[in-house]
């Protein structure tokens, strides 16, 4: 598959995101390595795009492809790399994974038709980056007490105690999350709370108690707020990710008509 060139009758356009007219096309490798990343300019905006084989990206075959974990990770990493490259050069409005057009005309029609909304979305993220902040707390109460109980009554009492401890823990963690969010939001242009990742997903032994994303202009001040928050909020370890293309701070519905 990899060796054959793209067939002209089998080509779609993959759109990574949108930048301002005048920006350079990112140099990162595209989702289809036989292609190259280009900028399709329409008025004030340019679409970061590359050609893809519809054998891989057509609706009919995509579900199967998505079930192929290795394929999926490769393509998702490529999508992200192209956007990170764009972000390093200036403002970018990222598209969701697998935004594909059947031909260039359709893609250009979208860019031209929504140029104003896209330019506004770009202006909003200009000079800002998305930063991810996660907080982890050591897992408390392994719940071994009930399992070791010697009698039925002791077992039930231990179970009740464990239940109460769990509820208390959940309350205190919700409180921690609210405090963190408030403090970080104060040094950011905007912020959202994301779903907590389970331990399977986070890849950590500690429990994730907070997962936020922030649109940040002043990186120094945000870092200071982060350091202060880690110092003041007991028992949590913070993890910073990014800078990300501002996935969480673009109008999701912009493309829908």
């Amino acid at each position: 598959m990899a060796a054959l060139p793209l067939r002209e009758d089998d080509v779609g356009w993959y759109l990574y995101g949108v930048v301002a007219n005048g920006a350079d096309a990112p140099s990162a490798a595209p989702v289809d390595p036989r292609s190259e990343v280009v900028l399709l300019v329409e008025g004030p905006v340019g679409g970061i795009a590359s050609r893809v084989s519809l054998e891989e990206f057509d609706e009919a075959v995509l579900p199967e492809r998505l079930a192929d974990a290795e394929w999926l990770e490769q393509k998702i990493r490529a999508h992200e790399q192209v956007l990170e490259e764009a972000l390093a050069r200036g403002a970018v409005v990222p598209c969701r994974f697998c935004t594909v057009y059947r031909d260039e005309e359709e893609l250009r029609r979208f860019l031209a038709g929504r140029a104003d909304a896209l330019a506004a979305a770009l202006a909003r993220v200009e000079g800002r980056v998305e930063l991810g902040v996660k907080a982890f707390a050591a897992r408390a109460g392994r719940g071994g007490e009930a399992a070791q109980a010697q009698s039925g009554r002791a077992y039930l009492e231990a179970r009740r105690r464990e239940q109460q401890e769990r509820e208390e823990l959940a309350r205190s963690r919700a409180d921690v999350a609210a405090r963190l969010h408030e403090r970080l939001l104060a040094e950011a242009h905007d912020g959202v709370l994301l779903d907590l990742q389970s331990r399977d997903v986070s890849g950590r032994d500690a429990e994730m108690v907070f997962n936020g994303a922030y649109l940040v202009a002043d990186r120094g001040r945000f870092d200071e707020a982060l350091t202060a928050a880690e110092r003041d909020v007991d028992g949590v370890e913070l993890e910073l990710t990014g800078p990300w293309p501002p996935y969480n701070f673009v109008p999701e519905e912009l493309g829908r008509t």
Binding site: G12, L15, D58, E59, P63, L66, E70, L72, I76, R77, H79, E80, A88, V93, P94, C95, R96, F97, C98, T99, V100, Y101, R102, E106, A121, V129, G132, R142, A147, Q148, L194, D195, Q197, S198, R199, D200, V201, S202, G203, R204, D205, R219, G220, D223, T227, L238, L240, T241, G242, P243, W244, P245, Y247, N248, V250, E252, E253, L254, G255, R256
Partner: protein
């Protein structure tokens, strides 16, 4: 967690797959392009990708060693997992013969 004095527009490490998935699959502008797909539940996808892609060694290298931290899968000091220990306790309590290993 120090990130000062670095290019604020460049990530310092390759991102964790879960964090990339969380954004790329679920966020960003959604365009009514010609080709529409249903993306599966991210959590499921993430776990599946990890299991399929990461052989244990590669996973460790990438910092994905969650199963080693799982008390139910990890062997304890005496070589037994917590699950096995609990099973033995239950068997003893119930007066059932406990399997010797």
């Amino acid at each position: 967690m120090s990130s000062r004095d670095l290019d604020p527009y460049r990530p310092q490490h390759p991102a964790q797959l879960a964090d990339v998935l969380e954004r790329v699959l679920d966020k960003g502008i959604v365009i009514a392009g010609d080709i529409k797909i249903d993306l599966l539940d991210i959590e499921l996808l993430t776990v599946r990708i990890r299991l399929l892609i990461a052989s244990a060694d590669k996973a460790k290298e990438m910092g994905i060693d969650w199963w080693q931290g799982d008390p139910f899968l990890r062997a304890g000091q005496n070589g037994d997992s917590q699950l096995e220990e609990r099973l033995r306790k239950l068997e003893e309590k119930a007066g059932l013969p406990t399997e010797e290993r």
